[in-house]
């Protein structure tokens, strides 16, 4: 796992950045439709992404 993270570090960080910028727009769509479950789900995804950045960023 550690080797995988080391080997693909730059790609994973790029993916984290793309997710960081993309998830908020999914959040916007979910909030506009009034779907509380989807909003919470997206917030959990956003949190998981931030956690990755905090540990490996």
């Amino acid at each position: 796992m550690e080797n995988f993270l080391k080997k693909h570090g730059t790609r994973l960080k790029t993916a984290a950045l793309i997710l960081m910028l993309f998830i908020p727009f999914l959040l916007y769509a979910a909030a506009s439709f009034g779907s509380l479950f989807q909003v919470k789900l997206m917030l959990v995804m956003m949190g998981a992404n931030m956690l990755y950045v905090m540990i490996k960023g």
Partner: protein
């Protein structure tokens, strides 16, 4: 009641404190510290400040939009830098300036103070640090000094730079005319210009070098502060930063000819590329940005496509209302980032046609841009996103209110600090003015103070906040190979940023007695 407010204030401050402590004392990178700050803001906002899922959702979209606006510039600036650097032109510029003046203090003044201010005048959003820092490294300065010097040197010109975007925001939120706001704003920012020049030199060479370059600082500072004042009060505030730094550049080159600054013999050097070819990318940048910003027909043509998102009114569980409206729009083809992108493409074509690139240069340029752009961007997005959470849950307002409550009649002394706080949080003088402008205006009116003076202090503090904003430090560090090691730079700029803001605060309170 007061005890509860203190606890709330401390909790509102906790995300900022987290970022500062992790970056300065634990040497965490901006991206890691920003993500940690995001978690702290999320927890505090949810448990104490009445955040709910919908509020968090909309605040994050606003954060993403704001980040995209900033990242557009940063990625394009990094691309331009790599387009230039791949030819070896940065080294050539460094040698060229050394040939022009071997005096280190003059090099600091011309690059770190004047040229950085000029770039702020035409572009802004971290471009001055991103462009000047590698130039200073090319001149032989250490990477930490190379980032800290332009960060300090350019910040006085932020309000009237970027075609006066921050000043425009101040007028918009306060509803006051430029003729009322400009004199005090230009005065305080003019004083800040001298202080930024002094501390830009000090950060490299201490008081001995400040003493040596005092004549140059006085002449160049007077030229820039005077021009800025004249342009601002005559209604041409959009050109305040641009015009002031152009006049400053002429003054700087003239000062470099003085005998006291010509005693160090420049080192003889051979350059494969001519200095003008090396500088051509920046001349192209000046031409394209000037045309895109100042020629109305081109500006209108490029500004036809704008991405915006509409937001409803958002009310926190504690009753804090964020008004409905559109988020920060993105002017796809007329954005500062787009202008930098055009400059990068044209410059690449010019260098390519002259045969300055080795094979596979384009691949190397793109790889280097991604390598330094990603960590920087992660830090910026996480910090802007947690600032948006704080803004939507009254946390930023509580911070400002606490400061004004504690200092009471000393409020004028504190008002630049509030501006500084806003810029530190969001990485933008414009955002600071938007967030705190009304609060400062209302407090000034309640206390019977001049709104023009207090708002001038707000925007001056906001401008000075540029030198300590992690978002901007990250940009500079990424261009000199200091990604992930931003702590020492932040430590240096923080010291001088706080000192200059303190001096502006004292000047503001003295001025409040005479207005």
């Amino acid at each position: 009641m007061a005890d509860i407010f203190i606890v709330k204030w401390i909790l509102a401050f906790s995300p900022i404190l987290t970022v500062l402590v992790l970056m300065i004392f634990f040497n965490w990178s901006g991206s890691r510290a920003g993500a940690a700050g995001w978690f702290v803001a999320l927890i505090a906002a949810t448990l104490v400040f009445g955040a709910h899922p919908k509020l968090l959702a909309y605040s994050q979209v606003k954060g993403a939009l704001l980040s995209l606006n900033v990242l557009y510039i940063i990625w394009a600036a990094l691309l331009l830098y790599n387009v230039v650097n791949e030819t070896g032109a940065i080294k050539v510029i460094g040698m060229g300036i050394q040939r022009f003046s071997g005096d280190k203090s003059i090099q600091i003044i011309i690059f770190g103070w004047i040229f950085a201010s000029f770039l702020q005048g035409v572009a802004g959003y971290g471009v001055p640090i991103a462009v000047v820092a590698p130039l200073l490294v090319g001149l032989g300065f250490s990477p930490v000094v190379a980032v800290a010097v332009p960060a300090i040197g350019h910040s006085w010109s932020v309000t009237f730079g970027s075609m006066g975007a921050s000043f425009q925001a101040l007028m918009a939120v306060s509803g006051l005319e430029s003729s009322y706001l400009a004199p005090w704003s230009a005065t305080l920012l003019g004083i800040a210009a001298y202080l930024c020049g002094i501390f830009a030199v000090y950060v490299f060479g201490g008081w001995k070098m400040v003493k040596h370059s005092l004549i140059a600082i006085l002449i160049v500072g007077s030229a820039m502060a005077g021009t800025q004042y004249a342009l601002a009060v005559s209604g041409m505030w959009t050109l305040g930063g641009f015009g002031a730094s152009l006049v400053g550049l002429a003054a700087g080159l003239a000062v470099a000819k003085l005998k006291i600054y010509n005693q160090t013999s420049p080192s003889p050097s051979h350059m494969e590329m001519g200095l003008w070819w090396a500088l051509s990318a920046y001349l192209i940048l000046i031409a394209i940005v000037s045309a895109g910003v100042m020629i109305p027909s081109i500006k209108a043509f490029l500004g036809q496509v704008k991405l915006t998102v509409n937001f409803p009114e958002i009310i926190s569980l504690r009753g804090w209302v964020t008004k409905a409206g559109t988020g920060k729009g993105i002017n796809v083809f007329g954005h500062g980032g787009a202008l930098l992108l055009y400059s990068s493409i044209v410059s690449y074509c010019v260098y390519l046609s002259k045969g300055f690139y080795k094979p596979q240069a384009l691949k190397a340029i793109l790889q280097k841009t991604v390598q330094s752009g990603v960590p920087t961007s992660l830090g910026i997005v996480s910090m802007v996103c947690f600032a948006m959470i704080m803004d939507h849950c009254q946390m930023i307002y509580i911070l400002a209110e606490g400061i004004s409550r504690v200092f009471g009649s000393l409020y004028p002394m504190i008002s630049p600090w509030i501006g500084l706080l806003g810029a530190f949080m969001t990485g933008s003088n414009t955002n600071s003015n938007v967030v705190f402008g009304v609060l400062q205006q209302e407090t000034a009116q309640l206390a019977g103070l001049s709104a023009a003076l207090i708002l001038a202090a707000q925007t001056t503090g906001g401008a000075l906040g540029s030198m300590i904003a992690p978002a901007k430090i990250l940009v500079g560090c990424s261009t000199v190979g200091l990604s992930g090691k931003e702590g020492p730079v932040l430590k240096a700029t923080l010291r001088y940023g706080l000192l200059i803001t303190g001096i502006i605060g004292i000047i503001t309170i003295v001025a409040s007695f005479i207005t």
